[in-house]
């Protein structure tokens, strides 16, 4: 279980992140939505260790993450960023292989059979076999994100963070990647925390939604409780109609 208490963070400008209390259960599939600048990505960055100067406490299974070594933390949490680029021409396999660093010791230079197996597994379920030797920098946006998902899967952590990872992708790629993640996480009972720009995706793929605005959690509940015309109007200042998804029976919003 993840437990956040009295989390405070500021970039030094007007922005302030302030979360008094938040609990996320193991195996939960949680989405965070909210307008631009609401602090959703910041929260993910704090979780993943990119930002490490905050006040307050984040505990995973009663361990304070600021007291866990970075290496150990990366055996618990993996991250799929919004976009990831490299300056130098690494191939897809090189990128995915980095996921095993948290499991190697300082002097161990080569990977073992277990590493190899899990990398192969991740490549298989993300259908990247033919991209193995291709340069990452030459892939399309969707393919790049698929590599980053394979990387996170190979990292084999209990918690997976997805930071608006579909925001640059077309609908086809988005659906494809969401299905990969969903299958993987349901099968392995992983905890997934995703930040979404797209309210409909959040509603479709998660059972619990947090709404953030101005660095605070404004709403927390099931898609039905959260996605109402009134709430969307208040949070986004967006006039919409809420309909029920004809197949999955979850709320979806459309423009008015």
């Amino acid at each position: 279980m993840i437990k956040i208490s009295d989390l405070n963070f500021t970039y030094g400008n007007n922005f302030k992140l302030n979360i008094n209390n938040l609990e996320i259960n193991n195996g939960e599939n949680l989405s965070i939505i909210g307008p631009n600048g609401s602090g959703k990505s910041t929260l993910i960055k704090i979780f993943s260790g990119i930002i490490n100067y905050y006040s307050g406490k984040i505990e995973i299974e009663n361990n304070d993450i600021s007291k866990i070594s970075k290496k150990k933390l990366s055996r618990i949490i993996s991250t799929v960023p919004q976009d990831f680029t490299t300056i130098y021409d690494y191939n897809t396999e090189n990128i995915i292989e980095t996921s095993r660093y948290p499991y190697t010791s300082f002097f161990n230079l080569s990977e073992n059979k277990e590493d190899r197996d899990i990398i192969d597994y991740a490549i298989k379920i993300t259908d990247l076999e033919r991209y193995r030797k291709k340069y990452y920098s030459e892939l399309s946006g969707g393919e790049k994100q698929r590599v980053m998902i394979a990387r996170a899967i190979a990292q084999d952590t209990e918690i997976m963070l997805l930071d608006e990872f579909t925001s640059h992708l077309d609908p086809g790629h988005t659906q494809n990647l969401m299905k990969i993640i969903q299958n993987y996480c349901i099968n392995k009972n992983k905890t997934v925390i995703s930040v979404f720009h797209d309210i409909n995706l959040a509603s479709l793929y998660s059972k619990r939604i947090l709404v953030m605005k101005d660095g605070e959690i404004k709403l927390d509940g099931t898609p039905y409780e959260i996605i109402t015309r009134k709430n969307i109007e208040e949070i986004y200042g967006f006039d919409c109609t809420v309909i029920s998804h004809p197949i999955y029976k979850v709320p979806q919003i459309i423009f008015n």
């Binding site: 993943s48 933390l73 300056i87 021409d89």
Partner: protein
Amino acid sequence: MTKYLKKRGKIPLLVFLIIISFIMFLLFSSFGTVNIKISDTFRILINKYDNSVIKNLIINARMPRVAGSFIIGSILAISGNVLQLIIQNPLADPYLIGLSSGASFGAVLYAALTLIYSFSIPFGMESFAFAFSLFSTFLVILISKRGKKIPVVSLILSGVIVSSLFNSFTTFFTVLYWRNLIHVNVWLMGSTASLDWNDFFILLTVLIVLIIIIFMMSKYLNLLSMGEEMSVYSGINPDSVRLILLLVNILAVSFCVSKAGIIGFVGLVIPHIVRLITGPYSGITTFYNIFVGGIFLMFSDFLSRSLFAPTELPIGVITSFVGAPVFIFILKRSRKND
């Protein structure tokens, strides 16, 4: 051809490079203002040569110079490669980021102090070079930093400014204390002419230490070269790794500059050539940089002393002739990706 090399033949090519390095060493030790046969050079090396004048010339004047050039080339190439990877900037080079200029100023300052006040401490010149290159390098990084990133052009501009500042100080001191401009050339454009066996062994030690540290940090370097975020996701602290590697490189280059002045562009050109063969970074990259960098500087040294013999051309002139066009090429390409 590079496609083929990427698949196989990385090790055989390395062996080939080692052999070529040795042949080049013999070749460049044989030719100069006095030419002897390569076979004679080999005989001198295995101590089966009789003419003691020639033997003395080759063994004590030319060989340390050629071998020293090799080591300096290796260190500059490795250092350029590591800088490019950790600063995440394909144009980083000890010369272009102001490291060498700081080191050269430190060395000249120490030489001046020795000359006037008979000030002398062990490894004084190297220590001064190290201290001032630390200062100049961090100054450049500080000036060019935008948030957590160092933009390509910004780094080069700050490098130029800081370098010309330190180079002016260097010129000022050399002219003030030696009253002639030959020494300015040594420090600002590089010269391998004064290298002796003692220098060679010191530089060799530096190179070996550099290689060992890079190998120990190889995994981290690999991650860091994919970007700071990748390091964090994989559980290493990018700041501490970067700092250690930066310090080790500054130290190694300070030794080179203390011995031979500023030799530009080696750290830019060689890693790019090597990257075409081996891909971005792996353990083997460092070995390639040793030999390709070494051969390149031995050849530059040969040209510098033989093109207009008996007048010597500063070795930095040769490396800049090769380096500047490569710089333009890489700059164009990296701007395209911006």
